[in-house]
């Protein structure tokens, strides 16, 4: 009797453990599916809704107040992003181009866009390939801006990419708060909305830049489908961090340059890194190929750009720069591996 009692649990324990694990795994995958569904809803809301919001951009103990106005009218998307207290910089974009008003640089930069569908239409869909390098979690509901919010965590599985924590409005799936985190969960940057309206109509005047444009220099960048010398187009990353693969290869004229640069895009399904390859200007003839005529020495090393990084190096007489919203190690890794004739590695 007592032996039976002792034996009983021994049989039961593995069963119970297996059952609990199976249950936990199922729950977990349901939670991940829910999280994925919410991310899709967020993508959709950001693309098709009208909204006018003011948010705090917090990074490195600094705060900037910014306003975003987004309108979808008759299939045309117009979006304005404005710094309210700092640089006075503004970005306005529509289906065709992104215009950057940089009063501190007395410059207006225009970047053409090739996508003519909904502006945010071609975005990551958090598919299965994303699941290989990120895990998704749905946390219990929290409150942001007095509203009930779903909390989604996108955890990177290694140190080559950043993750996100998102607080999505339960009613509209709009992100009320988002944090960019490193692989250890430390917050690098966050965006917290202080006010968010979703009006049916937004007038044209709300989408006009407040920056006085008199005396500013207009600079227009080229499309990423220009012809370029084959030697320039032969450059590829010969090695990539896990999960990254080549998604776009083209050439475009950047800034005031007169000759195109090669532009390669590598993605893991969520994070993207652009690699730019430019022929180095001939030093003897000054800054050849650059109309702004700044005799620029080659760029070398790491720079912080927004929440991401850029890493520059010189390869076979070409300036190679990798830029992306990824950790420093990722741009450094990719830039260092770029070479002429470097075959894009198989994923």
């Amino acid at each position: 009797m007592s032996q039976q009692l002792r034996r009983g649990p021994r049989w039961l324990i593995p069963c119970a453990v297996a059952g609990a694990m199976a249950f936990a795994l199922t729950q977990r995958s349901h939670a991940a599916d829910d999280a994925r569904a919410w991310l899709e809803k967020m993508n959709h809301a950001l693309a098709v809704r009208n909204y006018d919001g003011t948010f705090f951009h917090l990074s490195d103990g600094r705060v900037e107040t910014m306003r975003i106005v987004h309108r979808v009218k008759a299939g045309r998307v117009t979006e304005r992003l404005q710094s309210l207290d700092g640089s006075g910089r503004e970005f306005v974009r529509n289906n065709d181009e992104l215009t950057c008003y940089l009063p501190d640089k007395h410059t207006i930069l225009v970047e053409p866009r090739q996508d003519h569908g909904p502006f945010l239409g071609s975005l990551a869909h958090f598919g299965a390939d994303v699941g290989e390098f990120y895990s998704l979690e749905l946390l219990p509901t929290a409150r942001v801006l007095g509203r009930s919010a779903k909390v989604i965590v996108v955890n990177p599985k290694d140190q080559f990419r950043f993750g996100y924590r998102l607080w999505l409005d339960e009613k509209t799936a709009m992100p009320l708060k988002s944090q960019l985190c490193d692989s250890r969960g430390q917050v690098i940057e966050q965006i917290v909305f202080a006010r968010l309206a979703m009006p049916d109509n937004i007038s044209d005047s709300e989408l006009l830049p407040a920056v006085p444009t008199e005396g500013m220099r207009w600079v227009r960048q080229g499309l990423a489908n220009e012809a370029a010398p084959p030697a320039l187009l032969a450059f590829r990353a010969s090695e990539l961090p896990p999960g990254f693969h080549l998604t776009v290869a083209g050439a475009q004229t950047l800034g005031a340059a007169t000759v195109p640069a090669a532009h390669l895009v590598y993605s893991d399904g969520l994070a993207t890194v652009s690699v730019f390859v430019e022929a180095q200007p001939d030093r003897k003839s000054g800054a050849e190929g650059r109309a702004d005529a700044e005799p620029e020495a080659p760029m070398q090393g790491l720079a912080r750009v927004g929440s991401g990084f850029a890493f520059s190096t010189v390869v076979q007489g070409h300036q190679v720069t990798a830029v992306g919203e990824v950790p420093a190690r990722t741009v450094e890794f990719i830039a260092h591996s770029v070479k002429s004739g470097g075959e894009p590695p198989r994923p």
Partner: protein, 217 residues
């Protein structure tokens, strides 16, 4: 920062400030650069318990929190005394947390947080746990943390970033662009714990020295 504004900031970061008061806070912050700086420091202190405390704090991070507290002694003190907002408490994850960090963390934990959300966040993924276990020993300050100075991209880098932004995901794009909006010229403020702008070298500004390692105490 007056007690009232501190309360407002604190409630705002908790998502509990009524919208009328949020409007007032927003107006004040838009007008007052000094207040914005305090708000930034305050949010950083708050972050030590909200998002980041599910993993051990690095020394670099603790340093920043200390700087933040040095810059805002009244805020930290008042918050510690102000027990009414305290709603929950939990130990900081990770064994190898330096005493100074622990003190900061306990102080910080007196504040409120997104309680249910972060409690649930505690069981980090298995992957995270592995990373944490190795990193807690060395106190490595990763180069990717915001130890690097806030950099003003050169014209060329700015061009690159804009060209890149069209291939970013929704979130990446928003982060890249709002980062650029925030990255305008700013005067270095020496001695406040913030990185001072490095003069442009070869058209790029170089960040702070890379990863530095300290032995565990």
């Amino acid at each position: 920062m007056s007690e009232q504004i501190r309360e407002q900031v604190s409630a705002f970061l908790d998502g509990e400030l009524p919208s009328s008061e949020t409007e007032l806070l927003l107006k004040r912050l838009t007008r007052d650069a000094e207040l914005r700086e305090s708000f930034g420091r305050y949010a950083l202190i708050g972050e030590s318990l909200r998002g980041s405390s599910r993993v051990p704090l690095t020394r670099g991070f603790a340093g920043r929190v200390n700087c933040a507290i040095d810059g805002e002694p009244a805020a930290a003190g008042a918050q510690a005394v102000h027990g009414s907002r305290r709603r929950w408490w939990r130990p900081v994850a990770g064994a190898a947390v330096a005493a100074s960090v622990a003190a900061v963390a306990v102080l910080a934990l007196q504040q409120r947080a997104d309680a249910p959300a972060m409690r649930a966040a505690l069981p980090a993924t298995a992957q995270n746990r592995t990373v944490v276990a190795t990193e807690a020993i060395s106190y490595t300050v990763p180069a990717a943390l915001p130890e690097a100075p806030a950099l003003l991209p050169s014209a060329r880098l700015t061009n690159y970033v804009f060209a890149h932004s069209q291939y970013s995901s929704v979130l990446g794009q928003r982060n890249v662009l709002s980062g650029l909006l925030a990255d305008a010229d700013e005067q270095p403020v020496p001695g406040n714990g913030r990185a001072v702008n490095v003069p442009a070298v070869n058209g790029m500004r170089l960040p702070a020295p890379p990863a530095e390692s300290h032995a565990a105490p």
